[in-house]
Each structure stands twice: as C-alpha cells, then as structure tokens.
Symmetry: none
Subunit: 417 residues, 2 copies
C-alpha cells in the first residue's frame, strides 16, 4: 500500500504556516509500514483540488487529506470530493448532536454554517473529533481509500491516532511494520554524543540510528523494520542496549517523555515537595512542570519576583546583597532558592534569575542566567548559563537546564523521604 498526503489550504501556499500535518501523518504511516511517495499542497480552489485528486488516484492507493472541513465558505474539501466521486453529503446524526451540545454548553448561538460541519460523505466511516466540531471521514471507493481530516493539528493528530490508524492497521495485509523508538539525553551536545556512538551510526542497516538536536536536548531515533511488531521491538531493544552501554549516563527517557515529566515522576516517587522563585522565567519553570498531570502531589507553588523590589519584599532578600552582587548573581539565585523553600516549607527550593534579553543587566550580557537549587538541608548549589538565543528561547532553555540540573543532583544524592 502506498499513500499520498494532500493538504488543502491557501495559507500554506502563502507561506503563513508550514505543512506540519504532512510530517505528522507521514510519521504515523511509516509506523504502519505504509510508504508515502508524495505530499501535495493545494489552495482553497475546487478545480485545482480536483486535478490534484486525479493525479493522486493515478499513483497512490491511500489518499489522506488535511484541512478544508471547517464551517466557512473556503472550506471545500468534502464538497469537492463528493462531486468528484459522484456521491453526496449526508447529515451525521452523532456529529450534529455533538455540535449542538457544544453550543448549548458554551451558551453561544449556533449559526447555520456550523451545521454544515456535520455533513459527511455517504457511506463513509465517520471519525470522531474529540477536540473540535468537524468530524473526519474514511471512505473506500473503487480501489482507493480516502481519509479526510480537519486542519488544526490539535484535532487532526488525535483523530488520526485513535480513529484512523487502527482502521488502517486492520486493512494492512502485508504485515511489514516500521517502528521508531526515541532515546532522550540531557547534559551532552549533539556532536559529542555522535562521537561517542560513531561506530553504531556508521553501521546503518536495520535498525537505523539517527541523531537529532532540539532546544537543549539531544535524541537518537532507532527505527526497525520487521515482519511483526515483536521482532521489530527485539531489534530495537538490542540496538538500544548497545547505545546505552556507551552513553547511558546521559539518558533520561524515551519517546514522549519530557524532562519535566521525568522530574515530576522522580519527585513523586521519593515523596519530595518543590517550590520555585522565578525572575527572568516569570513562572515558566512552574508552568511547564504543571503540564504533567498529578503534579499537585509535589509542586506546592512558588513566587514570581520580576522586580528587585519584589525580591526584597516577597522573599526577604536583603537590599545589601542585591546592591553588592546585583540581581543577576549566584548569591541572588541562592537566596531565592533558600527563601522560597522556607516560605513554602518544601523539600526542594529552586531560584532562577538572569537577563533573558534583548538587553543585558548592568555589565551582564543578555543570556546570562543564574540557577540555584536547594535540596533538603544541604547548602544551595548554583550554576551559571551563558545563552545566546532570543529572549524566549533563552527563558525556555534556562528552565530545561534547571530540570536536568536538579534531576542529576537528585540522582547523585539519592535524596528521598
């Protein structure tokens, strides 16, 4: 089975957004062992869309569309496909009830064009939209399979994973599977990691191993192809052991793990509570931790002290200390960690201060960050970063580094309650 992914939307052709849906869908299809030979992007234009569909039908078995299912006039994917296949659109009762319920719940008036979203291709399998109103569709017609997905990634991704993918998996008879497993590392750069696993990277057969860097993390993706899932996973696990024998010290998790999720897991497992005092990151350290469900068992809270005055009044840091060392200093970060720990009566206190940019602070250039962590009754540990990205990338990198710094120290000390 081979596939073509067609994205419909003039905003893509104007260069306003990148076609991340095609990336997501292709990645998912490769896991099923389905080859993708082409991606096409076409605008909100019925004639050009029909031409695109005809070309795709001549070279693909499976055609997956993203976009153009919304309530507005320029959303014309299903209408165009219905006309092209000489079929009609019918009202889906489940979808219309869920749209009506949405408007009732939000106490907003439902307009006629919202009803249009509940129309589906006659004879299709309706794919439930758990994060929006427009349902998706899977239609078999004349040796082709057509899948229609909504454009917003938040709607498309879960719909593909939980609704379309199982149906496709059931259809696959050749049985070949491609499985990828991502190993995540911190505290090591991409080039340095690559040098250490060079022999493995040079031997690129099955599984393949590919490095990738992003936002202060490095990953290695192991991809295996086999007749069945079990064999693919055996291949992956053998390769994984080889990799970890070389760089296991830097390995913190896999696949969808994040530094934040692994840190929360460790804190919960060891019955530790945490609080943070944040200046340049202004709540980002706490907010990213709070993305993890169940964080309430460890994150008690914290303070954002953006101004010097707030550091003095809210945390009781002495004006003398700030005058002598400035707010961008090891001493200030350490005092923030110690004070917030005391104030919230937690096991761990974290302090983050610095100059995110675009301007520096006094004689400290933009990107200078001081991080402090205080674990139990130990003296606070501090660390200085010199970051060189934009304001908000610097803020995010400071937060991610703090997670890895804290994780490393927790592992090292084995601190628990």
């Amino acid at each position: 089975m081979n596939a073509e992914v067609i994205a419909v939307g003039s905003e893509l052709l104007l260069g306003q957004i990148a076609n991340t849906n095609a990336k997501f869908i292709s990645n998912q299809l490769s896991e099923l062992g389905i080859n993708v030979f082409y991606h096409t992007v076409v605008g909100d234009n019925a004639n050009r869309l029909v031409e695109t569909i005809k070309i795709a039908e001549s070279r693909a078995d499976l055609i997956i569309f993203s976009g153009g299912l919304g309530p507005t006039k320029d959303d014309l994917t299903k209408e165009t496909i219905a006309k092209h296949l000489n079929t009609e659109l019918i009202m889906d009762e489940v979808a219309i009830r869920s749209i009506e319920a949405f408007f009732a719940k939000h106490q907003q008036p439902m307009t006629e064009n919202n009803r249009k979203q509940a129309l589906v291709l006659k004879g299709c399998d309706v794919l439930e939209n758990r994060h929006g109103m427009a349902p998706g569709m899977l239609l078999e017609n004349d040796n082709h399979t057509y899948i229609l997905l909504p454009g917003p990634p938040k709607e498309l991704e879960p719909m593909f994973q939980f609704e379309a993918k199982p149906k496709l998996a059931a259809k696959m008879h050749d049985g070949a599977v491609i499985i990828s497993h991502v190993l995540r590392f911190y505290g090591i750069g991409e080039a340095a990691l690559e040098v250490q696993v060079q022999a493995i990277l040079d031997d690129q057969s099955n599984p393949t191993v590919a490095p990738l860097a992003s936002d202060g993390e490095v990953t290695l993706r192991i991809t295996a192809k086999a007749d069945d899932e079990l064999t693919a996973w055996q291949l992956i696990n053998d390769k994984k052991q080889q990799v970890l024998a070389l760089v296991g010290d830097y390995h913190y998790g896999n696949d969808d793990d994040s530094l934040a999720s692994k840190l929360v897991e460790r804190l919960l497992d060891n019955n530790l509570t945490i609080a943070a005092a944040e200046s340049l990151t202004a709540g980002l350290f706490q907010s990213e931790l709070a993305e993890v469900p169940g964080v309430g068992g460890t994150l008690i809270g914290g303070v954002v002290t953006y101004t010097e005055q707030a550091k003095i009044e809210q945390l009781g840091i002495s004006k003398d200390l700030l005058d002598q060392h400035s707010v961008v200093s090891s001493e200030c970060a350490a005092a923030m960690a110690v004070q917030v720990k005391k104030k919230f009566q937690t096991d761990i206190g974290v302090g983050l201060t610095g100059a995110a940019g675009p301007t520096g602070h006094g004689n400290q250039p933009a990107g200078t960050v001081w991080i402090a962590i205080c674990i139990g009754d130990e003296q606070p540990l501090t660390y200085q970063l010199h970051l060189s990205s934009s304001r908000n990338t610097n803020r995010l990198r400071a937060v991610k580094f703090t997670y890895s710094f804290l994780m490393r120290e927790l592992v090292k000390s084995g601190y628990k309650k």
Copy 2:
C-alpha cells in the same frame, strides 16, 4: 507568473522533518506577487522526480526545487533535471575553488563526492552558497524557469533572498505585488464572526478576505494584489475599514501582535502595575506576559498557589471560605485577585483557579475555570469558563481569555494613573 515548489527528500516523506522550505519560499514569492498554486514533496527517487517535474511543467511557469544537491548518492536533483532537459552538468570553477578552500581551511581530506557538488546545469546562472558548499542554479528553458536550491534552511534562505529573489524580481515585468495583512479578534468564535462579515466574504475579488481560527483567537487575512505596494495597502486599508465597521468591537491587533503584547502595551501606556495569583495555570499567565520585552515596567510578580494549603498560607485566604465554596469557585478566584494585589501593592490583581484536567475537582468537571480581576479600588470581577480541550490547551485558553477579559475591562473603565 505562477510557481510550484518541489521539495526533494525522503526524510520529508518519512515525517522526520516538516517542509519549512516551502513555507519560506512561498512567503518570499508572495512578496514578489508570484502566485504559488502547488507544493509537492517527492523522495530521493529519479523516476518519481521526473514524473513530478512533468506535472509541474504542465501547470507552473516557475519551478523551484529544494534539496538533493549534496555530495551523497541519494542527492539526485540536478542529475535528474539535466537528463530530463537533455542537457549536461559542467564543473563550475568558482564553486570548485570554494570547496577546495573549505577543505584546506578545515584541514580535512576532500573526497571525490565533494567535487560532485561543484557540478552545475550547463547555461544556468550559478547562485552562490555563502553558508555551505553546494551552489544553487537558475535556468531558463523552453518557457519555464527552474531554480535549484540546497535543502538546509540556513543555506537555502540566504541564497534565495540574496541570489535568486533579485533575479526573479528583475524578471517580473507585470510588477505586481501581493500583500497580506492579518486582523486579530478575541471574544468571538470563527463562525459567529463570519456571519457578521458575510457580505464581505461573499465579495471575494481583490482584496480577498479569509478567516482562520487558532487557540481561542480568530483572524481575518486580507490579501491585496496591485501594481505597487502603496496601492496594495490602500486596497487593504479600505477593506479593513469595512471589516472594522462590522466587528471592530472584537478587534485587538494585527499581524504579529499577541493578546499579551497588546495588554502589556496598554498597561505600560497607562502606568499600571499588575500581579497574579495562579493555581491551575501555575505561572503561565505571568510567563506568557513575560515573553514581551519591557514587561518589567508593569509585571511586578505574583504567586503560584497550587495546593489549598498554599492558598491559605501564602495568600491568607480563609479556610472557611475554601470549605464553603471550594477552591474552584468565584469566591476563591476573587480572594486570590484581591490578596495578590494587596501583597504586591499593584494596581491590578488577577486570580486564576480551576480544574485543568484530566480529572475534575469535587463535583466540578475538568475544564471548569474561575477567573477574577481586581482593578484599582473596584470590587473584583469574576468569570467562569467551561473548557473542553486537553489539560494544557485548557490552561492556555484560560490564560488567553484572561488577557482578553482584562483588556476589555480596562478599555471599558478607561482606568489609568
């Protein structure tokens, strides 16, 4: 003149990277007034690339390729085009000298496949690569213009901007420019907005107007085509006035504005300071505000009180109030706003509490959020949201709604110092 953008590379079809080159190139072409009707992605396969080129020749004047110019075996773009056009590849003397110089400088041995990178299509204009080794090409052949660019964005982007774009601009005789302007709205859904501007959407000539929704915001994109920039902007401004006459109440900014940046601007303009007490959002309200440079002039700080105990101890909210109303209540949000305002001695206090999900709180379902704002000496105002997305989308939507709620109340009251 209309264009097709063809990206060559199996890594795109495997879903390992998104086609950001097509986004960049399309954006640049729209500035030149060149319409892009299609993007295509094809793998490192000569036969399928030839088929793709033939289709593109049938529907585009300008065909821009990205990728496949490197030194390895699977780089086959220029070889395939040469064969397809019955022409040959010749060694470019400037390119080969620059490759030799690169290897001399880095004291690395130069291999034979690196020489391959200096081969260019006979008769082309060579496009200099200032950030890598493979030169680009612009070739005129039989009513078509072919542009070949390297795949890595840091090589492709400057090469397009400084080498290809001026040549394309000179070729454009009709001199048309296309300019887009994005209007941003809050407090109104996509379908409801569309109903209000239906007459404008129905009249899709020049400029065109297209709606788009994302993360609790709605935008309208006005796109005008004209002989020169000034005329295009006049067309846009006329259309904008028509739109704002209908839905101006919901308009908060344009183009790269965000709710946070507009709110910070208003607070700074009116000399107002702000502090926030956050529960479910755990610092996200403050952290998103802090993305705006200069926020230190208005954001003093705030507290994250994730647990009930933290609300009592850090904000002095009475246990009786929480027992009577629970932490997910109008009363708790209001107390948080009032107390944090007092604690940080600011002009405005904000309180955010609720159940982000996946689980609810007591008999309150996941997605129930209470927001309170306290402006000056006024009584706090509260607002309840019922969100139905995932945990982190709910958290982000609660924050965005709070920005718009606060902005609306500030505009209404005209409060300043």
